[in-house]
C-alpha cells in the first residue's frame, strides 16, 4: 500500500543540511518568490498561500507553545527485521535518512501545550522515507495514544506521509495500522478527543488508519490525500483522473473531513475545538 511516487503538488522539499537557494518557484502559482519571505510566515507562499513542506520540528514550533514540547519514546528505534535489501540494505537506508533529516524516525511524539492546554502531540515527517509507517512509527503512536488515554489528554496527530505502510518492514508495517487503530478505539471508549490533521501528502496505510479516525479531521488546503496512489489508479482504470482528485477540497466535498484549515490558523483552530469539546 504505497504511493511513494506521489509528488504531485508537493513543494520542492528542502533537505536539511543542504543549503537553500535564495529563490523558490511556487508549486501553486508558479511565481518565483523569496524563500525567506515564505519561511517568515509558516512556509506559505506570500503570493497564493500555497502550503510548502514543513519539518516535524517546525510543525511543533508552529502548533505548540514555545518551549513546552517534551518528546516521548525517542529511544524506540528502528531495526531491520526482514534483512530487507533493494538497491541498498534497509539498515543503511535508515542510517542515511537519520543523517539527512536529523530525525531518528518518521514520527515525533510527546506532550506540550496549545495555548496553555496540555495535549498529547504526534507528527509524521514526510522527509523520512516518505513519512511511511513502520514498527517505530506504529509503536511511538500507539504509546502516545495510550498515554493520552491514561493522562486524559486531548490528542493531536499531524500526518505527512506519502509512503503509507513502509514496504521495508513488510507485514510488520501493515500491522501497525491495526495496532494504532485499536489503541485509538480504546481512547475513544475513554472519551478522548482526537484531532487528526492531514497535510500534504497523506496516503495509503496512514490515510487508511489513524489519520482517518479523528473525532475531528482537519486538512491543510490542496494537500494530496487518499488511499491508492494516483498512478496506481490510472494504471488500473486507464482513464485520466479528474482535476483536483484526492485533494483536501475533494475530500471536503465528498464528506470525509470536517474543515480545511490554513497553517497560520491551525493552532487557534485546534485550541477552539478543544474548548468546544470541553477537554
Amino acid at each position: 500500500m504505497a504511493s511513494i511516487d506521489e509528488k504531485r503538488g508537493t513543494a520542492r522539499q528542502p533537505k536539511r543540511g543542504v543549503p537553500h537557494g535564495l529563490w523558490l518557484r511556487c508549486t501553486g502559482c508558479k511565481e518565483t518568490i523569496f524563500r525567506s519571505e515564505a519561511e517568515k510566515f509558516f512556509n506559505l507562499c506570500p503570493k497564493c498561500g500555497y502550503h510548502f513542506y514543513v519539518t516535524a520540528k517546525e510543525r511543533i514550533n508552529q502548533v505548540l507553545d514555545t518551549g513546552t514540547f517534551e518528546e516521548w519514546d525517542k529511544d524506540v528505534l528502528p531495526t531491520d527485521p526482514l534483512n530487507f535489501h533493494d538497491n541498498k540494505p534497509y539498515s543503511e537506508r535508515l542510517t542515511a535518512e537519520q543523517k539527512r533529516t536529523g530525525l531518528s524516525e518518521a514520527a515525533v511524539t510527546g506532550t506540550g501545550m496549545i495555548r496553555a492546554r496540555r495535549v498529547a502531540f504526534g507528527v509524521t515527517d514526510s522527509a523520512f522515507i516518505m513519512g511511511s509507517m513502520g514498527s517505530v512509527v506504529g509503536e511511538r503512536l500507539a504509546r502516545l495514544v495510550e498515554r493520552a488515554t491514561e493522562q486524559r489528554l486531548p490528542l493531536i496527530i499531524v500526518s505527512g506521509s506519502g509512503g503509507g505502510a513502509r514496504m521495508h518492514e513488510g507485514i510488520l508495517s501493515l500491522m501497525q495500522m491495526a495496532k494504532v487503530s485499536a489503541a485509538l478505539a480504546r481512547y475513544d471508549q475513554a472519551g478522548g478527543l482526537f484531532i487528526s490533521v492531514l497535510t500534504n501528502p497523506t496516503m495509503g496505510g496512514v490515510a487508511a488508519s489513524f489519520a482517518s479516525l479523528g473525532d475531528l479531521i482537519f486538512a491543510e488546503p490542496r494537500a494530496l490525500i487518499g488511499f491508492a496512489g494516483p498512478r496506481t489508479i490510472m494504471a488500473t482504470i486507464r482513464l485520466e483522473l479528474p482535476k483536483g482528485f484526492q485533494t483536501s477540497e475533494f475530500l471536503l466535498e465528498h464528506g470525509y473531513i470536517d474543515r480545511i484549515v490554513t497553517r497560520d490558523k491551525l493552532k487557534s483552530e485546534i485550541a477552539r475545538a478543544i474548548d468546544y469539546c470541553g477537554k
Partner: protein, 336 residues
C-alpha cells in the same frame, strides 16, 4: 483437478498425471502394467512433494492466485451446512467482491464475511477480481455489528489482491472505511476468526483482518504490498516481482515467525487447488476447534486478548527498556 493454464513449475507433475491417466485406461491388463501404475503413482506423489516443499516465494504467489484454488464461495458450500447471504450496506450499493451472511458450522450459527474473486470471466469482472470497494467494507462492518448484537461469532475469509484502486472508491472513502473497520473490529464484542485463504493484499485484507485468531493456509501470502507494486516502486519495474516477493517475507511460515498469524493450516499435497474437499475439511476442523476455544472466553478477556495480540506486533529497539533491565545486549523487548 487439472490445471488448464498451468503453473510453470508444475510441468513435471502434469506429465506424470497424463502418463497415469493413460495407464489407468488399461488398468488390469497385466501384472506388469499394474506395477507400472503403482510406480508412476509413487513418482507423482514424490515429485509433487518435492516441488511443493521447495516453492520459491514467487511460486507461492502463483499458487495463491491459481485459478482453480478454492475461493470463499467454495468454502461456503464445502465447510458450512447453510449460507444465507445478506446484502445491503444501507449506503451505496452491493459489492460482489464481498460476500456476507449467516452460516451454519456444525450446529453453530455464525456470520461469515469473505472476499470473493469469481471463477468465470463474467464472475471475475462482477467481483472486480476480489478487489472490494468501500461499500463492500461497509457491508462487512454492518454484518459484523449485526453478529455482535445477536451473539454470533464472526468468521472472516481473506482473499484479495488489494482494495480497489479507482475514482469511485476514493470518492466513497476507501481509506476511511478500512480504518473504521479495523477500529471497530478491535472492539467488536464477539469472537472473530480470520483466515487468509489465498491472497492477503495489504489494507484490503486488513479491512476484514482484525480478530482473536488469524490463520493462513500454507500456500497463501499476506503482504504490505503486492510483489509487482513493490518492484515497481523500489526496482522501478514490475519485472522484479520475483525479487520483491523474496524480500517481503510474506509467506505463511514467515508470518508465523513474526508473530502475525497464530496458525498455518496445511494444504493437501500439491496445494489446495488439487483437492478442494480435503482443504475444506481441514479448514472446517480448524474453525470448529478455534471457535470452541474462543466461546469459552468471557468477552472482556477476549477483547483484552485481541488488543494485546495486535499491540505486540512490530520489531524495534527500545533503548530505555534495555537500560532499565540492565541488559547488555541490544536485543529489545519489542523485537520478535
Amino acid at each position: 483437478m487439472a490445471t488448464q493454464n498451468g503453473l510453470p513449475f508444475e510441468a513435471p507433475i502434469y506429465q506424470l498425471e497424463d502418463r497415469l491417466r493413460e495407464l489407468l485406461a488399461n488398468a488390469g491388463s497385466s501384472p506388469e502394467h499394474d506395477d507400472e501404475i503403482r510406480r508412476v503413482r509413487r513418482e507423482l506423489a514424490e515429485t509433487t512433494r518435492r516441488i511443493y516443499a521447495n516453492l520459491t516465494p514467487w511460486e507461492t504467489v502463483l499458487v495463491a492466485r491459481e485459478k482453480n484454488r478454492p475461493y470463499t464461495a467454495d468454502y461456503l458450500s464445502l465447510v458450512f451446512d447453510e449460507f444465507v447471504e445478506l446484502h445491503g450496506d444501507k449506503f451505496f450499493g452491493d459489492d460482489r467482491a464481498m460476500l456476507c451472511g449467516f452460516a451454519n458450522l456444525e450446529q453453530q450459527k455464525v456470520v461469515v464475511i469473505g472476499h470473493q474473486k469469481g471463477r468465470t470471466y463474467k464472475e471475475r469482472s462482477a467481483c472486480n477480481f476480489g478487489c472490494a470497494h468501500p461499500e463492500g467494507y461497509r457491508k462487512a462492518l454492518a454484518k459484523m455489528r449485526l453478529a455482535a448484537k445477536f451473539g454470533l461469532p464472526v468468521i472472516c475469509i481473506i482473499d484479495t489482491p488489494g482494495a480497489y484502486p479507482g475514482i469511485g472508491a476514493e470518492e466513497r472513502g476507501q481509506a476511511t472505511v478500512i480504518a473504521q473497520n479495523m477500529y471497530e473490529m478491535s472492539r467488536l464484542p464477539t469472537p472473530i476468526i480470520c483466515v487468509v485463504i489465498g491472497e492477503g493484499g495489504s489494507g484490503g485484507a486488513l479491512g476484514i483482518g482484525v480478530g482473536d485468531r488469524v490463520a493462513m493456509l500454507e500456500h497463501s501470502y499476506y503482504s504490505v504490498i503486492s510483489p509487482e507494486g513493490c518492484a515497481g516502486i523500489l526496482w522501478k519495474s514490475h519485472q522484479f516481482a520475483e525479487k520483491a516477493a523474496k524480500a517481503l517475507r510474506f509467506r505463511s511460515r514467515d508470518l508465523l515467525q513474526f508473530g502475525i498469524v497464530d496458525s498455518v493450516i496445511d494444504e493437501p499435497l500439491g496445494g489446495a487447488h488439487r483437492d478442494h474437499h480435503r482443504m475444506a475439511a481441514r479448514l472446517k476442523q480448524y474453525l470448529i476447534k478455534t471457535l470452541r476455544e474462543l466461546r469459552a472466553v468471557p468477552t472482556p478477556d477476549l477483547l483484552l486478548g485481541r488488543y494485546e495480540k495486535f499491540r505486540r506486533m512490530g520489531a524495534f529497539l527500545d533503548q530505555a527498556s534495555i537500560d532499565q533491565s540492565g541488559q547488555a545486549s541490544t536485543e529489545a523487548a519489542g523485537v520478535r
